[in-house]
């Protein structure tokens, strides 16, 4: 169903060694070591960018949001608690930024932005035709995500794109597991309704 390589790349799931390395980078960055911080940027640019892109639906806005996320992380390094997964912390900052951004654009319909082909990686679609198909599939999924309120959309993105458990989502969204269950249910219900209205033609 899901390519483990692709999933790992995006979800920020890291090995124990990698976590130890990141903890070290985070500790050094807190001491003012900018190179260590840039290592964290290098490690998390992709999951952060992907989260922003799925939330905002626009490549330029997503890039700006991802950069702003790292800038905020840099200025708030003192609030990072050693021992906490850095991935959760940085994705939490990105999530809050995107939700705030969407709230400001409450009545603004997010346009679907066609990415240039070289900006899109896929573990299983290397051919141009397959890539085009993948883009079309992405477009219809984005239309589904677009029907959701920001908090529901975030729960769906964390669940599917970042492969997070209910408990991890709850921690990241600073809410309860019960609320996460409810948001995912409502989101799925809304998307199912939308899919039925469009006759599933977009799949």
């Amino acid at each position: 169903m899901t390519s483990a390589t692709a999933k790992d790349r995006e979800s920020g799931q890291v090995s124990v060694d990698r976590q130890a390395q990141e903890q070290q980078w985070a500790a050094e960055a807190r001491q003012g070591d900018r190179d260590a911080f840039m290592q964290l940027v290098q490690a998390y640019q992709r999951p952060v960018y992907n989260l922003c892109y799925r939330m905002l639906g626009d490549a330029a806005e997503a890039e700006d949001a991802a950069q702003e996320t790292f800038l905020r992380a840099y200025t708030r390094l003192r609030t990072y608690q050693p021992g906490r997964k850095f991935s959760s912390w940085i994705l939490s900052i990105a999530s809050h930024y995107c939700i705030d951004h969407l709230r400001k654009q409450r009545y603004h319909q997010v346009p679907w932005d066609d990415l240039p082909p070289d900006r899109m990686l896929s573990a299983s679609d290397p051919e141009p035709e397959q890539a085009a198909l993948s883009r079309e599939r992405d477009r219809s999924v984005h239309q589904l995500l677009d029907t959701l309120p920001a908090e529901y959309r975030l729960a769906v993105i964390l669940r599917y794109w970042h492969n997070m458990s209910y408990e991890e989502i709850a921690v990241l969204m600073e809410t309860t597991v019960s609320a996460v269950k409810s948001r995912l249910f409502r989101a799925r219900q809304m998307m199912a309704k939308q899919a039925r209205q469009t006759g599933g033609a977009d799949q």
Binding site: E10, E63, V141
Partner: protein
């Protein structure tokens, strides 16, 4: 929450493998009987499959992403330093201005004290205050008193020296701040 909603919520949990065997069996039994839930179940499954498929696609930020983050960090650090420098200059400038103002006020008070030692003026002032305390002309009268005091003050060379220094320092301070904030207007973009 209706009976349907309860089962629909279970469909959502089932999609995430969060139902045990007994709950799954109960859900399947309900779906066999309820066409409404069955339709929603099918639609939710379809959406779930679409999302799982789409989640395999990983996007890369632009090639210069890390360099742009570095540039933003540089810009932030410079702005931060300038802000602190501005705050220090503001504080020092404010302290200098307060000092000059206090000095000028002291000179004025000394002048006023000298003026009040004139018994004729003191009696005049007290009498006028008593007479017109409740009347509109009080303000005008007091203004006249202030003008007389000021006229006495302007005859003091030290007073003018203080005023001149105060003006010069204020002008210099404003100029420094304007220059500082013109350079600080580097937005973190």
């Amino acid at each position: 929450m209706t009976n349907h909603d309860l089962y629909l919520e279970k469909i959502s949990l089932w999609l995430d493998n969060r139902l045990d065997a007994a709950e799954s069996a109960a859900l399947e039994a309900h779906l066999r009987l309820c066409s409404t839930c069955r339709q929603t179940h099918a639609a939710m499954q379809m959406v779930d499959a679409q999302l799982r498929q789409a989640a395999q696609t990983v996007l890369d930020p632009s090639p210069g992403f890390t360099r742009q983050v570095e540039a933003r960090l540089d810009s932030y650090r410079q702005s931060h330093r300038r802000l602190w420098a501005g705050m220090v200059i503001l504080l020092v400038g404010s302290l200098v201005l307060v000092g000059v103002t206090v000095a000028a006020a002291s000179v004025s008070l000394l002048t006023l004290g000298q003026a009040l030692t004139d018994p004729a003026m003191l009696v005049y002032g007290l009498r006028r205050v008593g007479e017109f305390a409740h009347q509109f002309w009080l303000v005008a009268d007091l203004l006249r008193l202030v003008v007389r005091v000021a006229l006495a003050a302007v005859q003091q060379p030290l007073f003018w020296g203080m005023v001149l220094v105060s003006f010069l320092l204020t002008g210099l301070w404003v100029k420094i701040l304007r220059s500082l904030y013109r350079r600080t207007a580097v937005h973190i973009t």
